[in-house]
Symmetry: C2
Subunit: 243 residues, 2 copies
Amino acid sequence: MHRPRSIRLLPQHEIDSCASCTARGYSVCNAIEDKDLGRLAAVAISREVAKGETFIQEGDTASDFFNVTSGTVKLYKLLPDGRQQVTGFASAGHFLGLAVSQTYAFSAEAIETTQLCRFSRPKLRELVHDFPALEQRLLETACNELVAAQEQMLLLGRKTARERVASFLVSRAEAQLPCAIPSDRIPLPMTRSEIADYLGLTIETVSRTMSRFKAENRIAIPSNAEVVLLDRPWLESMATGLL
Amino acid sequence: MHRPRSIRLLPQHEIDSCASCTARGYSVCNAIEDKDLGRLAAVAISREVAKGETFIQEGDTASDFFNVTSGTVKLYKLLPDGRQQVTGFASAGHFLGLAVSQTYAFSAEAIETTQLCRFSRPKLRELVHDFPALEQRLLETACNELVAAQEQMLLLGRKTARERVASFLVSRAEAQLPCAIPSDRIPLPMTRSEIADYLGLTIETVSRTMSRFKAENRIAIPSNAEVVLLDRPWLESMATGLL
DNA sequence: CGCACACTTGAACCCCCTCAACCCAAGTGG
DNA sequence: CCACTTGGGTTGAGGGGGTTCAAGTGTGCG
């Protein structure tokens, strides 16, 4: 006996996943108008990845692009002996996989339960072809990432440990703008080790530096996963190397 | 008395600057077909900048984009106290100024006599609008720069001084592919100080490390502006952290 | 020639890393 | 309920890679 087609249960992404996506407002997808969202939803495949799962492996053939819709992802590169450099953290709205090359140039791992939207390269290429505004948004995204990368190079090449940690805290505070009321209480979903690998330091130095900021009453640490900025102006001065 | 119009001397860029441009082959301009080169030449303004001249200043309003047609420029960021991080060196074919923001996020200085092509932002926007292939090339360029930036973050955050210098030498050797026969004799138009600011080291460390490579017979240094790679495989292993 | 500038080399120091112990909260299972 | 484990974080002591400071060596150019 057949179930009538009209009430067949479709996977959620085939119904309205893009129209109801909470990340659409600040992701590249906002380049596509409401009336065309069906086209987008048709090629986007939603997927949940668990904390700790690596869903992009440096060197693998780059078959897909991803858009983070919730959760947080760390992007990183490895040296053969295991040294790790985190190149960035991506949260809701971030687009991953920008690359011309046939293989991924970095790895990506969810650091908490994360929702992703997956696009196959050929499908996205079609989409870009049909919606030039999308290509423009991708270019914008790439430019912004480039600017952030240059800022991070300055940090890694020329800043002291204290300046690095201060820069990190301030940038985290700025990063959580789009969603809520800008607050000085900022969540840190990543571990100290991941912060260290992002800042080119060791766990111990990150820990010591944060402890010292706390002793100096610049920050409070209500839990390991949260920091409160008590003296934002001072932290900003420290971050820019003025102290 | 009027000079007849037919033999009026036009600035060179109004005649055939783009068609005769030696850098066109490997720059974003190759996205534009020969028949449309007139459009390109009409908005491109050629300009020579002297060694030491800064033609892009971080923080200034971003009015123009540039294409390097010959020579070399260094791209860098500064901290208020003068600490400098060189984010890259751009030679013939490189496109500069990719950014969405209203202001430049970095400075650019010619490190030798350099020829540039200047495009005003509105003019380039027109061009991009009329030639979608150009936007695609710009996106490609941005992606490639992003990959390079991530590689540099790995270097700055996690590599030792020896690994950094070896990485630099190897990447310099790879960078000079498009023009000539790939050689192990590579030119270094930049000073030790600029290399140091690129690698997140001091002049002294760069100098010592190169001297040691020389003493170990991995390289030769015929002049301050040239290096010969004597043991490329070893340098590549060192660069990737295998030694 | 002699000055300027870039580079090299040496010696002492220091910031951050390494190594190691310890703390603490959240399981887990008897 | 408590002993034990496990994973992340903190703190301390000591060491080392790279910096700082300083002097010396080319080398091009007026």
